[in-house]
Structures are given as structure tokens and as C-alpha cells.
Symmetry: C2
């Protein structure tokens, strides 16, 4: 493997000194980039793009050509694991993801098993290896997975949902069935992230997109407990370096203490949490990643710069901050705007890292 | 006006002693009730139903015929105020609300004015008067409005939104325009709620459905500040009784201290906040209303009863709690399930109100 030329992102996640605050963006390889839309059109379906390591590598690297980002993130979908379990993932245009065979009864739950990582998910590991080769050590590569609870909602609902009627219905009425699903998922995600690390991922992130729809009591029992099991089972070192793990529960601002207690290295913050408060609450245990409202990128570069400055000031002096959006970049954003954000982070953050 | 026979709800909001925890449900007059669907079909469009005081009264009273609820809530829509401002509210089947004339530029903002409450919104006041007459003092009647920020998002977007691109875009890029909209709205909502109180509303609630999509900084400046102005301008006494005001920001669990600081009598809690924590944080300043996950009502009566018990136990002994869902009841809920909830609240709460 090529030597890592820019390890600012990894150092910040481990709360080691850095010269400036590193930055990347959730969904940085995506529809807001015309070059992404061109590759996507060439690939065929969205899943064809995910399943083609060369094209997945191409779109992973596109944002790095435009912006001096401090990390790359594997281009893939969070639903690859349930797909590999045999649920038949497909995408309806404008409808979001769907499963041909949702998991809604005891028989379907009994059939769930941990997929083979190199057989059923080999295309993901091939993408990781291809991206690492093509990155040539410019910046670290982030691997990722959806959280067990988040994956379970799609598996039980058969796709996206607004009300979580079936998934929460099962959680309330048949908690033992939901626990069985989550248990298989926790073991699958652990194996999946460890396979990504073995293939070359240098940090991993768990996206708990729907944990924030739970009550605190249910969050602890049905989402956090399974993320804890994953954190406990992860390979935390590879290629002679620590592999940091980031937990992100969208809407989880009230539960940062619980999340920090898992032993993760860093927490993702959405924009509804004040980063000064978050650092005061958990900053001695974990690094923080976030937390600009993605809608800020609808505004002008001047407004974006001021908003970036406010978050950097909110976090304050010293390491332990990775700048990011509070959620994925919206598809209708002008690429000149994230450019202004990245530039502002790099320029305005240096004074916060000068040691006295 | 008839004498109020059951004032448990009003007393709990004012943190005065009660015999049991009162209960009502957000969206209690709604699609989950077959009798509501029948009246709705007779009325014509959804707005025809809102604009017909006799039919609005009929649906307001329907849930009280089924369940021993401790309050009625005016049947209306949060978008009546922007509609009265001349924006042309209409509903597309399955699409949610739309405005014919969204407010997207300086000229449109300059035209906004406070509507006349008895002219343009007389149908709402007529509904309040009709309901009070038909209630005959059984339980108190709650009036309500959307918060300025929540109304502004619909007015600027021209309807519902997922990304808040236009409304947050204006907030970031043209904050003075957004402040002008919010200012007219705050004055309009104050007049609207005061007119409802004059017509007979015995408590009022401000629904800030979309305040929780803001960063803390923007929440304070663009949502809370205008709710503060409304609270300051409300008639707080009528018919010789205090008229309590309830603030509810969905997703606002991180900001309860700020919300309690407005001088509102009570805060609505969604289900992502632990009610024990909430009481510890702000329970000496305000009453708390909530906070069962509406999805709990998909489960069986036994599970519902246990979940109700957990929230009552979480709040603990003494007054200051009004039981409610953390958000509106879903339209596909079996009416036998809210019945179980109401029964459980009344039965299980009595021990928490016994004075030693």
C-alpha cells in the first residue's frame, strides 16, 4: 500500500494534534456533481454502479478532484447487507429503495443468516481495494455500514417509510423477533466492516439514520446496544495504524453521553446540536464530526464562510474536530458552494490549532 | 357559557393538584375514526370541512363520544392564517397542502398583512363558538395555531418540503426578508389566538412542527423569538380563569430550557425526550405534555398499557403532567387502541396524585 500523505483526518478522529481542521462531506460522491451523473448514466441502475468496482472507484474519487477534501468515502449503499441476505434490493425511480422479500414474519426472520463477505459482498471489497490503489495514499478511505436498527426498518417495511408502522409495530408487539433480526444484522455488519478494513478501509462509520425516531428507552435497547456489539467486535488496527470508528445517529443529540460510552472514537453530529455543548458533554471521550446544516450550501459563498467560522469557533481550540455537514449534501447544490465550505474550513481553522 | 365540569386538563397545565393525569391526543379528530371519514366525505374538500362551523364542531366532538378525553381541540388546519393572507391554500389528494401564491420575493413579502380575524377567519371563530356551545362544559376546548417559522416554511416553499431548500435558502441568504415574514406572522398568530380565546378557547397551543429542523442558533433567532413575541401578546385570562399556553417544537428536546424561558405554561414533548430528564430540567417552570410514541398504538392494548405505565412512572408523583402522544395519531390506527391508552392513563395515574 502507498504511504498515507495526508493523515489529518485520522489524527483528528483520534484527538491527536493537527495543523488544521480536516473536512469531508457526507454523500460527497453524489448527484450534485455533473460528473457523477454522467458516470451514473453510463453504469445503468444505481445498484449496477455500486456493484461495479471500477465505476464505484471513479465516483468515489470525483469529489477529490474538485475539492481538497481530507478523506474519501467508499461509494456504496447502506442496503448492500440486507441485499446480500437475499432480500432482493431494487430501486424504483423517485421511490427510494425497495425489497422484493421483506422480513415480516417468523419464517422470514428464521431464514436470515450472515452473508459471506467475499462471496455475496465481494464487489464491495473489490471497490475498497480498487479505490485504495487509485487513491495512492492521497487521503484515507472511509468504509461504512448502516446501523442494525436502520437496516432493520427497511427490511421489515420493505423499503422507505414515514411512519415506521411495521418496523416499530414489530418492535412493540414482537420484540423477540426484532431482536433476532438485529442480532443477525449486528454480526453481519461487524463482519462487513472488518472485511472492509481488511480490504483497506482506514476508518469506518456507522450510519444510524433512523435511530433518532426512537424513544430514549427503545434507542438504547434496539439501536445502541447493537452498535455497541459492533464497536466491540471491530478490528481497531490495520497496516500499523489505529482504525477509528465513528457513530452517527441522526437526531441523536440528546444521547451523546450514551453513544460516547460505547468506546467509539468519534461521534457524528447533526446540525440540531450545538457543537460547544457537545464538546462540553463528551469531548474528553470522543472526537466530534460535523455539523453544518446541509441547507447552508444553498446560500452564497460569503454566508457559507461565516457559517463555517461559527462552527469552528463553537468547537474552539485544539484537536478532535472533523468538519462535515450534519447530513448528506442535497442533490440540487451548486458545486461552487461546497468548494467555498472546504476552503473556509482549511483557512479559518488554522488559528485554532496553533499551540501556545 | 356553561360551567366547566372537568377542569383537570387546565389544572394540570397550571401545575395545580389533580386527582389523575388528564389525557388528550394530538389529531384526535381525524382519519383513524370512521365517523370522521364519513363527515369528511359529506363536507367535500378538507378545507370545506374546516370552513363549515357545524361540521368542524361535529368532528371535534366525535373522539369525545368514544373516549373519556379530558380536552377537546378545535378542528382546523394550521395553514388557515396564510390562507387568510391571500395565498390561496388548496389540497391535492395525497400531496399535502399547497399555496397558489407562494411568498418568494420582496414584492410578495411586502404585500403580507395581518388578516382581519372576524372577516377572513370568522369561520374559525364561529367553529370555536359552536363547539363551546355543544360541549356544554364537559371538558375545556383547546385553540391552536402553527408557529411563525412553521407557517413560513409552507408559505415560502409553496407547500410541504423535505429539504427546506427555499425557506432555509431565504433564511440564510435574505434573513431580513424572512424576519419580515415572521414578524407579520407573529402579530397575526397573536391576534388569531386572542380571537380564539375571545370566542371561547380555554387553552391555546402553538405547534412548531418544523422548528426542530433548525440549528440551535437559528431556532432561537427564527422560531423561538417569534413564539416568545406571541406568548408575550396573548390574553392569559378569560371567563375568570387563566388561559394556559402550550409550546410544542417537534424535535426540540435539546432546547427545553430556552422554551421554558418564554413564560409559556407548558411544553409539549415528542417521544425522543425522556420525560424524567425533561421534568428535572424544566419541571419547576412549566408543565409537560406528552410523550408516547404514536407508533405504540400499532401494538396491542396490553403493550400500550405497559408503555403508558412507563411514562407515568417516568414523570412521577404530583401534578404538571398532561398525557398525550408525542405527535399526531396515525390515520391507520385501530380506534380500540387509543381507547386502551386513555383507560390506562386514567387508571394507572391515580396513585401518582395521592397526597401523603
Amino acid at each position: 500500500m502507498s504511504e498515507l500523505k495526508n493523515d489529518t483526518f485520522l489524527r483528528a478522529l483520534l484527538r491527536q494534534p493537527v495543523d488544521y481542521t480536516p473536512v469531508w462531506m457526507m454523500r460527497q460522491a453524489g448527484r450534485y456533481l455533473p460528473e457523477y451523473r454522467a458516470t451514473r448514466a453510463r453504469a445503468g441502475s444505481f445498484m449496477d454502479l455500486c456493484r461495479n468496482p471500477e465505476l464505484a472507484c471513479e465516483v468515489t474519487l470525483q469529489p477529490l478532484e474538485r475539492f481538497p477534501l481530507d478523506a474519501a468515502i467508499l461509494f456504496s449503499d447502506i442496503l448492500t447487507v440486507p441485499d446480500a441476505m437475499g432480500l432482493g434490493l431494487y430501486f424504483e425511480e423517485g421511490e427510494g429503495p425497495r425489497f422484493e422479500r421483506p422480513v415480516q414474519d417468523e419464517a422470514a426472520v428464521a431464514q436470515l443468516a450472515i452473508p459471506d463477505m467475499e462471496q455475496e459482498l465481494g464487489y464491495v471489497m473489490d471497490a475498497v481495494r480498487t479505490i485504495r490503489r487509485e487513491l495512492g495514499g492521497r487521503v484515507p478511505l472511509i468504509g461504512f455500514s448502516g446501523s442494525p436498527w436502520t437496516l432493520a426498518t427497511y427490511m421489515v417495511e420493505g423499503g422507505s417509510t414515514k411512519n415506521f408502522a411495521k418496523s416499530k409495530g414489530m418492535m412493540f408487539e414482537r420484540p423477540e423477533l426484532m431482536h433476532r433480526i438485529l442480532s443477525v444484522l449486528a454480526d453481519s455488519v461487524t463482519a462487513y466492516l472488518n472485511a472492509q478494513i481488511a480490504a483497506g478501509a482506514q476508518a469506518v462509520m456507522i450510519f444510524d439514520t433512523w435511530g433518532g425516531t426512537l424513544s430514549p428507552h427503545h434507542y438504547k435497547e434496539f439501536s445502541l446496544a447493537y452498535m455497541q456489539r459492533i464497536v466491540d467486535g471491530l478490528t481497531r488496527e490495520a497496516e500499523g495504524r489505529q482504525v477509528p470508528v465513528v457513530l452517527f445517529t441522526k437526531g441523536g443529540g440528546q444521547w451523546l453521553e450514551m453513544m460516547a460510552g460505547t468506546g467509539a472514537d468519534a461521534l457524528g453530529l447533526d446540525w440540531t446540536t450545538d457543537i460547544t455543548d457537545a464538546r462540553r458533554r463528551v469531548g474528553d471521550q470522543v472526537a466530534l464530526q460535523g455539523n453544518l446544516d446541509p441547507c447552508t450550501l444553498y446560500a452564497s459563498p460569503e454566508v457559507i464562510r461565516r457559517s463555517v467560522g461559527r462552527i469552528l469557533e463553537g468547537y474552539g481550540k485544539g484537536t478532535g474536530h472533523v468538519f462535515n455537514l450534519g447530513h448528506g449534501i442535497h442533490p440540487d447544490i451548486d458545486p461552487a458552494h461546497p468548494a467555498a465550505m472546504v476552503e473556509a474550513v482549511h483557512e479559518l481553522s488554522r488559528p485554532y490549532h496553533v499551540t501556545d
